[in-house]
């Protein structure tokens, strides 16, 4: 293992281990905030595996959260939690495998709009199924308390971050970046682009599926319009892009910034929060396309010279 990778995994693991103590130090409010933070970390780190590295910008990441949540709602009280959470990850991966093959055949704006379309399509299908079963929302009784949810969320954030690190430093990640820079050239030199893209897409779906299960355990309620809300995809993209979506460290910065802002503004002025999100997205893409972390890296490289 390369030293920098070992060091970064070491730091991530240490931070995660220290964070386990949080529920005993703080109160329920802090744990709730930390839960929000770790779920967004888990989501953005999973997003960059497909979109940051290959440049195939997915605007439909929420579909995996939604399908995970739906599977969790369907199996609630049927299966134990330790079985539900991995199952939701598998379900999301299966969905990604099914929709990924056709979706990844198109590129650029086609892919962006297609991912959005697929996520809306799945949302409306779930809504129609639920309406057909005359269910308007499902309540989850006896959901775990916030401390336990935080531990699972922390584990997922760690998994997602370390997974993204390993992919980023692997031959697999190098192949994905080659696709981003020039897909034809990558194919010419023997990279099996189709397989790599699909593998990245499926990998990126697993964690959001499990996060979906956690989110409805937190709200103790499953409602398709809410859990499949396209705004979640927007936030994932913005957090990753403003932090810098090429390296796994970047999105951490974006997540911390936006989650802190969300805590201040969401309850009172949700629209103002979204306006700031939009302004940050436009500003960062124009002003520093590599994101905040990309800019930091550049500055450090310039100083080292």
């Amino acid at each position: 293992m390369i030293p920098i990778l070992r060091r970064q995994i070491g730091i991530a693991t240490l931070v995660a281990l220290l964070a386990i103590g949080l529920p005993w130090v703080g109160n329920e409010y802090y744990t709730g905030f930390a839960f929000t933070l770790v779920t967004w970390i888990a989501l953005t780190e999973s997003w960059i595996v497909i979109s940051g590295m290959t440049g195939y910008v997915s605007l439909g990441h929420v579909v995996f959260i939604g399908i995970g949540a739906y599977v969790a709602a369907l199996t609630w009280m049927v299966l134990p939690i330790w079985a539900i959470v991995p199952l939701t990850g598998l379900a999301a991966a299966a969905l990604a495998a099914v929709v990924g093959y056709p979706c990844l055949r198109v590129r650029g704006p086609y892919f962006v709009i297609l991912t959005f379309g697929v996520s809306e399509l799945v949302k409306f299908i779930v809504i129609n199924i639920e309406a057909g079963l005359s269910m308007s929302g499902r309540v989850l009784f006896a959901a775990p308390d916030i401390d336990d949810l935080f531990f699972i969320g922390l584990g997922l954030a760690w998994l997602s971050f370390v997974g993204a690190l390993i992919v980023s430093h692997s031959r697999f990640g190098a192949g994905l970046r080659a696709i981003r820079e020039n897909e034809e050239a990558a194919e010419t030199i023997g990279i099996s682009v189709g397989l790599l893209k699909l593998a990245a897409f499926v990998l990126s779906a697993i964690v959001p599926g499990m996060v979906g299960a956690l989110l409805i355990m937190r709200s103790t309620y499953f409602e398709p319009m809410q859990i499949f809300n396209p705004q979640t995809s927007v936030l994932i993209v913005t957090m990753a892009v403003i932090g810098g979506s090429d390296r796994p460290v970047g999105p951490l910065l974006g997540v911390v910034l936006l989650v802190a802002l969300q805590e201040v503004l969401w309850a009172s002025l949700p629209q103002l929060y979204m306006i700031i999100v939009g302004v940050l997205l436009v500003g960062v893409v124009i002003g520093m396309p590599g994101g905040v972390y990309g800019r930091i890296q550049r500055l450090m490289a310039a100083n080292a010279r």
């Binding site: 440049g55 910008v57 605007l59 056709p102 055949r105 198109v106 590129r107 650029g108 704006p109 086609y110 962006v112 709009i113 297609l114 959005f116 379309g117 697929v118 809306e120 399509l121 409306f124 299908i125 809504i127 129609n128 309406a131 396209p230 927007v234 993209v237 913005t238 892009v241 002025l269 629209q271 103002l272 979204m274 306006i275 999100v277 939009g278 302004v279 940050l280 997205l281 436009v282 893409v285 124009i286 002003g287 520093m288 396309p289 590599g290």
Partner: protein, 292 residues
């Protein structure tokens, strides 16, 4: 019954065609997908709504406010954001993805700014809602006005692109950008013109939509998606194709909903969209491989 449906299909089809025409102009010339296109439809709709509710202005007159407003926004956007961005080498490296994110951010800003100013509630106003009988169909007058204006603009656009020198120059630019520049077509000026035209058409479409449908700050994005489907159906930069695609989608949607249930409407639109992208990304009339 069937003439009722046919007229409904024509009305929504002509609006789709109009909105897609605007999107197609910007995408065709600059190869940039304006995902904030629907938000300019929304802004046009709000112009008409407030003009009607506050000042009692006839929505047809509001067109004269909405179109200049969205055109001004286009000019501001082009020079304020686009020109700035294009100076950055880092931005240009991945211009397609980056510009998409910029448009996307713009869409989020506009939706929420309007929601903050005017609340996220749905609104409507009653204009020309007398019923007239055409064959065995009962149609409100406002739908006929929408059909008339949208249809006239679409047909006018087809004529413009067939007959006028400027229209042919734009078509040339859409088909072969480099070659068009070589034969002396002023590429930068036509880019700006099409950018403005695209936004202006969105503003016009917004006024029309507001006459017959409820409006809300979030009404725009579905129109963007629909317009994108129409553009793909008709082919990139193909104006006549947009017209045909719009009508086809209007017919599919109206008859599809009539045959199933209103709750299937979204499934149908997105289903058609996904099917088209997967089966014929080059459009119904396109022969070659899609430019991706």
């Amino acid at each position: 019954m069937s003439s009722q449906l046919l007229i409904a299909a024509l009305v929504s089809g002509s609006v789709y065609a109009l909105i897609a025409l605007g999107l197609n102009l910007v995408y065709g010339t600059m190869r940039l997908l304006n995902v904030a296109h629907g938000e300019f439809v929304m802004i046009g709709a709000y112009c008409a709504y407030w003009g009607f509710e506050l000042l009692g202005i006839n929505p047809l007159v509001s067109i004269l406010i909405a179109v200049p407003l969205t055109t001004l926004m286009a000019i501001g956007f082009y020079f304020g954001i686009f020109r700035t961005a294009m100076r950055s080498a880092e931005f240009m490296e991945r211009i397609e993805a980056n510009s998409l994110l910029v448009f996307f951010g713009t869409s989020v800003i506009l939706q929420n700014a309007v929601a903050l100013l005017f609340t996220p509630n749905q609104r409507d106003y009653r204009y020309a809602d007398q019923i007239v009988h055409i064959l065995d169909a009962r149609v409100p007058v406002n739908k006929l006005i929408v059909l008339g204006i949208a249809g006239a603009v679409c047909i006018g656009a087809v004529a413009f692109f067939r007959l006028s020198t400027l229209g042919i120059a734009i078509k040339a630019l859409i088909q072969q950008r480099e070659a068009a520049a070589l034969v002396g077509i002023p590429v930068a000026r036509i880019d700006l013109l099409c950018f403005c035209l695209g936004f202006a058409i969105a503003g016009l479409a917004g006024v029309l939509v507001s006459m017959t449908e409820e409006i809300s700050p979030y009404m725009g994005f579905p129109f963007t998606v629909t317009a994108f489907v129409v553009v793909i159906l008709g082919g990139l930069g193909n104006v006549f194709g947009s017209l045909f695609g719009g009508l086809l989608l209007g017919v599919l949607e109206t008859f599809g909903v009539a045959l199933t249930a209103p709750s299937y409407r979204s499934i149908m639109i997105y289903g058609v969209f996904i099917a088209v992208l997967l089966l014929r990304p080059q459009g119904l009339f396109g022969a070659g491989r899609a430019r991706t």
